[in-house]
């Protein structure tokens, strides 16, 4: 946290000494405490019990167990936008997460060029626009729940370095945005992949995960009471699992495609949020991941009670294997907007692991968790 303050104040000083650049500072954060409620038979060590574990953040491996913690998903982020010219700006987001002991990192760092009123080009480091909530999954204030359902937002790569072209247009009275993107992510020392290696008894020194030639598009349509977003992209996948002796495990690279449709619809006092996605590998097994989310929020003044159900499945179409990874999360919660810029949230999660235990695919284990905290923006 000290480092963050030092860097932030350093940034601010740097900025205030520059009189040329017009600069806008804003930010967001969440301070969330939580824990799981019981113990479970350890799915990977039959006969032993362990704390229930709820993974709130797969990418960073932010987890809750029986000991209350604020580290799993608390976060603080400062965004600076520097206008270098009327249509040309630099955006940087310094993000400090509890899972990293609040060591700040520049998670977002990109140039924006408004070529015309309707065409915006961006180049640099941003989140991959995968799921409907992917790009702002860490901005807790922007959605009702504690987090977008973590059993869907589970990928080991969430960011990339690349370019985006965004085109806005009106059609049939609806606002449309078409976005095309291309980029690469060489995720050295991937936290989630190393976690899995250890979970299954491995002792790798590190795992490097490569997602390359990430190329795709989003189509966003919004009207008076709805917002819909279609996504398609494909990319190549490769991985280096480096053992203690320096040897690298064999790995067969493959390509994946990602398709999805998500959004929200407002019906009087209710808001329906949903996201359906399908990931397919071109590997020898015919791996597929169908996932979906459905959530209903009731908007009652400053109170927003909600319920959410998210389901993830893992299938193999080219081999006769039916039972692999499968789970759902059922969550109930309440968001209370107690200030114009801050919301209190409390959420109960029930994670049910429906994976195939004998083959080790039920590796998450069931979990029930309570988390509460405050999301804010400034």
């Amino acid at each position: 946290m000290k480092t963050l303050l030092a860097v932030t104040s350093g940034m601010t000083m740097l900025i205030s000494s520059s009189v040329l650049a017009d600069m806008r500072i804003s930010g967001y954060g969440s301070i969330i405490a939580g824990k799981t409620l019981g113990t479970v038979n350890d799915p990977l060590n039959p006969g032993q019990t362990r704390d229930e574990i709820l993974t709130a953040d797969f990418y960073d491996v932010g987890q809750y167990d029986n000991d209350i913690t604020i580290k799993a998903e608390s976060i603080f982020a400062v965004q600076a936008v520097m206008d270098l010219a009327e249509n040309f700006s630099v955006t940087a987001q310094l993000v400090a997460k509890g899972v990293d002991d609040f060591e700040p990192e520049f998670d977002w760092y990109y140039l924006t060029y408004k070529a015309t009123e309707n065409l915006t080009l961006m180049a640099g480091r941003r989140n991959i626009p995968m799921y409907y909530f992917s790009e702002f999954s860490e901005v807790g204030y922007a959605y009702p729940w504690m987090r977008p359902p973590s059993n869907l937002y589970w990928w080991q790569v969430t960011q990339f370095n690349g370019v985006h072209a965004m085109y806005d247009f009106e059609m049939g009275g609806y606002s449309n945005t078409l976005t095309f993107f291309y980029g690469n992510e060489y995720s050295d020392d991937n936290v989630e992949m190393l976690y899995y290696d250890k979970l299954y008894g491995g002792s790798a020194r590190t795992v490097n995960e490569y997602w390359t030639d990430i190329a795709g598009m989003n189509w966003n349509i919004s009207g008076d009471n709805f917002d819909l977003r279609f996504v398609y992209f494909q990319n190549d996948r490769d991985r280096e699992t480096i053992q203690q002796d320096g040897s690298i495990d064999p790995y067969t690279p493959f390509s994946q495609t990602f398709v999805g449709l998500g959004g929200n619809v407002s019906l009087d006092k209710f808001t329906l949020l949903f996201d359906w996605n399908f990931v397919e590998y071109d590997d020898a097994l015919g791996t597929e991941f169908p996932t979906y989310l459905v959530s209903l929020v009731y908007n009652w003044d400053d109170y927003q009670p909600y319920i959410s159900y998210s389901k993830a499945d893992h299938e193999r179409t080219k081999v006769p294997t039916e039972d692999l990874e499968e789970h759902y999360v059922l969550s109930y919660g309440l968001r209370y907007n107690f200030l114009p810029t801050a919301a209190f949230k409390i959420q109960y999660d029930k994670f049910v692991d429906q994976g195939h235990a004998p083959s080790g695919w039920a590796y998450h284990g069931d979990a029930r968790a309570i988390s509460m905290g405050v999301d804010f923006v400034f």
Partner: protein, 146 residues
Amino acid sequence: MLLSTKNMTWKVVLAVSTLSFFYLSKATAEVSIIVHPSNASTFDQETIKKIFLGKTKSFSNGRSAILISASSSDPASDEFNTKVIGKSSSQVKAYWSKILFTGKGTPPQEMDSNNDVIAAVSSNPDAIGYIDASAATDAVKVVATF
């Protein structure tokens, strides 16, 4: 210290009437949408709503709109969001935080007072803002009142 019953009764009456006056004034407060006097664009509620959600980026005169809003603690903010946008101020703020932190737009610039909104709008031909209807002056053009 003990309060006499009479004194207590008065306090309750006073509190209730202040409260009802507050609700009454809240219910009847109107919000005016203001632009620079030179802006001859046409406006209806749908246009104003789309402009303030960043979905329409320019006026009918072809110029890019610069959005000015009251501060989030200003009653005019709630008034505008409820009547014109049709959402609570928190929902509007959540909507903008998604856009702001993904670099897809810039939310309206918040001003501390009605006078600051008037000053900002009267000094920029492309600005649009909203104020408590009773605060409007000749320095700006009122294009709609809700």
